[in-house]
Structure formats: structure tokens, C-alpha cells
Amino acid sequence: MARHVSEDPFRGLALPTSANRPAGAPHRAATVAFDHVTKRYGRRDDGPTAVDDLSFFVPAGATCVLVGPSGCGKTTSLKMVNRLIEPTQGRILIDGQDISTQDPTRLRRGIGYVIQQVGLFPHQTIAENVAVVPRLLGWSARRRRDRVEELLRLVGLEPGQHMNRYPADLSGGERQRVGVARALAADPPLLLMDEPFGAVDPIVRARLQDELLRLQRELGKTILFVTHDIDEAIKMGDLVAVMRQGGTLAQFATPAELLTQPASDFVARFVGADRALKRLTLRRVAELPLEPAPIVGLGESMGAVRARSGGRTPRWLLLVDRQRLPVGWVDGSTLPDAAAVDAAAAIRPSPLLGRETTLRDALSLLLDAAVRAGIVVDEAGRPVGLATIDAITALLHEQNDLTDGRDDPDAAPGPPDVTAGPTASGSRDDGDAPRGGRSPRAPRG
């Protein structure tokens, strides 16, 4: 490995993945090093410079996000890693090996690749699509089949339902899941993802992001992830490489560092004026103090509920069905003791939040739905508590105070009172949190 990249220049950075990975979890991950990589297009390399002297190091198991404005060379950088594009100068090393000396075909079979347009083979079934690389590698039909089923489950698709369908029969989100499954098929130590969730709607995108994060915790792959969305970069990355026009590296840092110490005006502007709000992306619902959810079962009588809660029955009760899945909210104060609670009395439930949902997403879901509390559910979809806007904003204050160097114990989140229930509160325009961070306001502090 080259001298100047053999040592991890970012040793000092705290890398969440390595910390979060369960001890002993099997993983196969590669390191990636860009060593003064330059790409000029044009017949004689005399065209415009797409990537300019790019050097950085991605440790094994980390997700590194390349982010920057359109045309700054992100895709070019990514495609040089699997040699779809050859660098004009410099070298790229995977696990310390210069890739220019490797057979491109073999190299590519060991690197997962996911693109925005997915690029599934329309004439092959989902099972065949997922098994492309295993087939190229000569796996037996039996082993391929088992792997396909395993992978489809992993990405949240029911194998029996999807294996024999064609890509044209799937939704955009489903196709993208298949794309991820296909990239993972031969268990490559490195994944390249170019705006993988760029073509799906924001709600599906958030879900796919969450799923990739969950997958990544299980798999511990090294991922190079391209996006032009700084929010996505902050959410997905252990490391973020901010690139700017002309293909230069503006900053290479952890998301937290990017938000607290942007290296230049360009980075500060790109990250956006709402950096404090963005820091909510780095935190999860699991970190919030949850309210207990006042649960009432289908068919239970109000009298029983009142007796259970010892006279301190909150007005709004969360109705769950026989599987204990949330149905909606019931206004208990309108029901006499004898009344059995049924589904007809319920109004629609608040947004459902996973424990892994980022606080940023949780906040915007709550503001969008104009409710004070979201229902936090476990993997099976059963409520485990309520996450309130108050609890989120308390955390926001807390971190802002930390940034400002002040210590304000009063801002610590106490148990907020939700007896007022989940009904609409606050004005809708609160929901319009700044996105994209291109607001002209100067960054603060």
C-alpha cells in the first residue's frame, strides 16, 4: 500500500460503525483508499477535470458518503472504484491492493453496485436478477436459490411473492430493494451506491435509508455512498466527503464534525444554516425518554381501563387490536364505564416511529401530521411508548446549549405531559422545516 495512504489519516475520528457492531458479528469488509486520484475526460485526457487530486481513506466497515453539488465528480469517483471509469492519474487501493493491476471483471464481481435507475434486467425474474453474480461465480442452483430467498427476506421482500415476478411488476421502492439484494448477493466486502434512493418518494426513501442502516449494522460492509442531499449524507455516513465543483475535496469528516466545524464557507453553506436542526439526524428515537402509551384493548370496557389506571386515566387512549397493533386513538372521556371500546370510536393513529427513526424524521413526521406525539413501535409493530415533540425539542435545546458552551440543566427533558392527547396542535407551517439548507441566513455560532 502506498506510504501516504497506508496510515489511516483519520485515526482520530470516532467511527460509529465499529463501535456499534455487535462483538463477534461475522463481517467481511474492505478498506478503500483514494491516492491522489484525478480524472480528466476527453479523448486525450484534455477535457474538463471531473475529479481533482482526490485522496481519502475509508476504513473497513465504514459508510463513506460522497456528497456535493451536481457535477462535482461524485459518480466519476465511484465508478473509478470498480473501473467502469479509469483514473487519469493516481491510484485507488482496495484492501491495500492497487485495483489497476486487477482483472476488471473479477474485481467487479467482488464489489456490489447500486444505482438510482437500479438497472435490473427486465427479461429476468427477480430471483434471476438477484442471482446474477452468484451465477457468474458458478454457484450451484440450490445454493443460489437459498441465497436469493435469504437476501429477499433481508431487504424486506417476501420471497414466495416476488421471486418469479419480473422487474416491471414491482414498485420503485421494491425494485430498489431488489437492487440492494442483488448487490449483496455474493457477499461483497464493498458496496458502491450511487444515489440509490434518489428516484423514490421521500417517505419510501426514509424507510429505505433506515433499512440500509439496519442492514449495515448486521452486515458491516464498507459502503461508498453517493448523494447530493446533505441530509442523507449526515444520516447515512460514518464519514462524509464533501466535494465541490471541479472535483476537489472540500472536507472529509464525520457528520458531527461537519455540522459543528465546517472547514470552509463552502462547506458551511452546503451544510446549511439549519445545522442545529440537522444534528437531529444523528440521533434516534431510541435516545428519547418515551412516554408510556395509555393502551386499551379492543372490546375492553372503559370501567376496566379506569380501574386499571387508578382514576388517573388520560383522556386519549391508544386502541390496539388483538395482535396488539395500534388501531387509533379513543377519547375515553366521552365513554361511560360500561362501554366496550370498539374500532369505530377510534380516530386515525399518530405516525408510527421505529426506535431507529432519526429524530429529524420523527419531528417532521409529527409536524406533518400535526400531532404532538408519535407512537414508537417495536419490530413487530407493537407500541412501546410515545415520542413527543416536546421531548425532541428538549433534546434540540440541550445539544444547542452544548454547542454554545453553556450548561443549562433546566433544559433537560422532563417527562412532558401528554394528557392533552394527540390531537392537532400548533400551526401547520411549523411542519415546513428548512430542507436542503440553502437558506441565505448566516450559519450561527
Binding site: 470498480n82 467502469l84 476488471p104 471483471t105 473479477r106 474485481l107 467487479r108 464481481r109 464489489i111 453496485y113 444505482i115 435507475q117 437500479v118 438497472g119 435490473l120 434486467f121 427486465p122 427479461h123 429476468q124 446474477v132 453474480v133 457468474l136 419480473y166 422487474p167 416491471a168 411488476d169 442483488r182 458502491l192
Partner: protein, 220 residues
């Protein structure tokens, strides 16, 4: 001959063997022409696909052949290959080239870029990409070309009656010479029926070969 009917059925039943033989020869000439045309077109189209600079001369040549009036082409070939099956096949094959080459190229060009990129990125070799991805995806348009070429050829085979071949064309020609409408109509109607049936068969084949191209997706 006002009393002469369009088709004299007794003649038809008496000459079923002859009619069947003409039909068989018609089909035979067509199948050979389209098969040979497809083989030559595939080779030329793949050449043009691989080496883009070859595309213009290849399509130009096929275009030139296509513009020669069919009868003229057969007549031009007689001094070289005589009044033979070969003569008619050369002509028939020649006329399929333009359609088939164009459709194969259009089919290959129509493969989405992202699919090609994914194929490369997963480590398919060039050959694997061609045979496992590009050609299968080109198939609906190639099949559309084969259908047009086949129907065109079925029509052209009748013309080759003038150089002693011609399948059902022989019947029609004999009908003209003998002023016997039955032969003309039997030849004409059977060649139309042949075209319709073969076209429908090819359409079914195309559907069976491309189950992934649903609805109108596979037709063009």
C-alpha cells in the same frame, strides 16, 4: 366468361396434391430465405454494433439491395445463377437484410443504459453481456423485424414464379396463362392465408419467448 365461377371446387379437390406441393414449396422458400437472411443480418448487425464505423456502410448496402425492384433483381441474377432455387433465394434473402439489420440494431440500441451499466458493474464479460442481456432484450424488436421480413418474403416468393420457382405463384401464373380464375384465386387466397397464419404464429412465438414484455411492451 360471365358464367365462369371464381373458384371451381371440383378442380380444387382434384388438384389437392398439386396445390399442397405449391404451398409447401412456398413455405420452404420463405423459411430458407428468412433463416439465411437472419443469419447474415445478425452477423452484419453485430459487426455494426461492435464497430460503429461499420454501421453506415452496412445499412447503406442493405438499403441499396432493398431498392432494386424485385423482378429486376431476379432477372439480373439469371445470367449468373440460372433459373434456379439459388437465384430466387439470393433475391429473397437480399430483401430481408435491410429490415432485419435495422431491427436488430434498433433492438440492441434500445437496451437501457442503466441495464448495460449494471451488467458491466456486476462483472459480465462483453460476450456474456451480449448473449445474456443485450440480445434477449432486443428480442421483441428483432421478432417484429422477423415478422415483417417473413410476410414480405411470402409476397415476394410469388414473384419468383416468373423465374420458374414461386410456390403458390406458380398456380397464379398458370391461371393467368390458361385464363383459369380458379388457379389464380386459389394461389392468391392461400398466399394471403399463409402470410396471416405465419405472422400470427410468429407473434405467439414472440409472446412465449418474451414473457417479461407485458401488454404492448413487446410489440413495436
Amino acid at each position: 366468361m360471365p358464367s365462369e365461377p371464381l373458384i371451381r371446387w371440383p378442380w380444387v379437390t382434384a388438384h389437392l396434391d398439386e396445390i399442397g406441393a405449391a404451398l409447401g414449396q412456398h413455405l420452404f422458400l420463405t423459411v430458407i430465405a428468412v433463416a439465411a437472411g437472419l443469419a447474415i443480418s445478425a452477423a452484419l448487425a453485430l459487426l455494426a454494433h461492435r464497430y460503429r464505423r461499420a454501421e453506415a456502410p452496412i445499412t447503406w448496402l442493405a438499403g441499396v439491395v432493398y431498392t432494386i425492384p424485385s423482378l429486376a433483381l431476379f432477372v439480373l441474377l439469371i445470367p449468373v445463377t440460372g433459373l434456379s432455387t439459388l437465384t430466387s433465394e439470393i433475391g429473397l434473402v437480399g430483401y430481408t437484410l435491410l429490415i432485419l439489420i435495422r431491427n436488430i440494431l434498433a433492438g440492441l440500441d434500445g437496451v437501457p443504459r442503466d441495464v448495460l451499466e449494471a451488467a458491466d458493474a456486476m462483472g459480465l464479460t462483453r460476450r456474456q453481456r451480449l448473449f445474456q442481456v443485450e440480445l434477449p432484450l432486443a428480442l421483441p424488436i428483432v421478432m417484429a423485424g422477423i415478422r415483417i421480413a417473413t410476410v414480405t418474403t411470402i409476397g415476394l416468393v410469388t414473384v419468383t414464379a416468373l423465374i420458374g420457382q414461386g410456390g403458390l405463384g406458380q398456380l397464379m401464373l398458370a391461371g393467368f396463362i390458361n385464363l383459369f380464375p380458379t388457379e389464380i384465386y386459389v394461389g392468391a387466397l392461400l398466399s394471403i392465408a399463409l402470410a396471416v397464419v405465419v405472422d400470427a404464429g410468429l407473434l405467439l412465438l414472440q409472446r412465449a419467448l418474451t414473457p417479461w414484455a407485458r401488454g404492448g411492451g413487446g410489440r413495436r
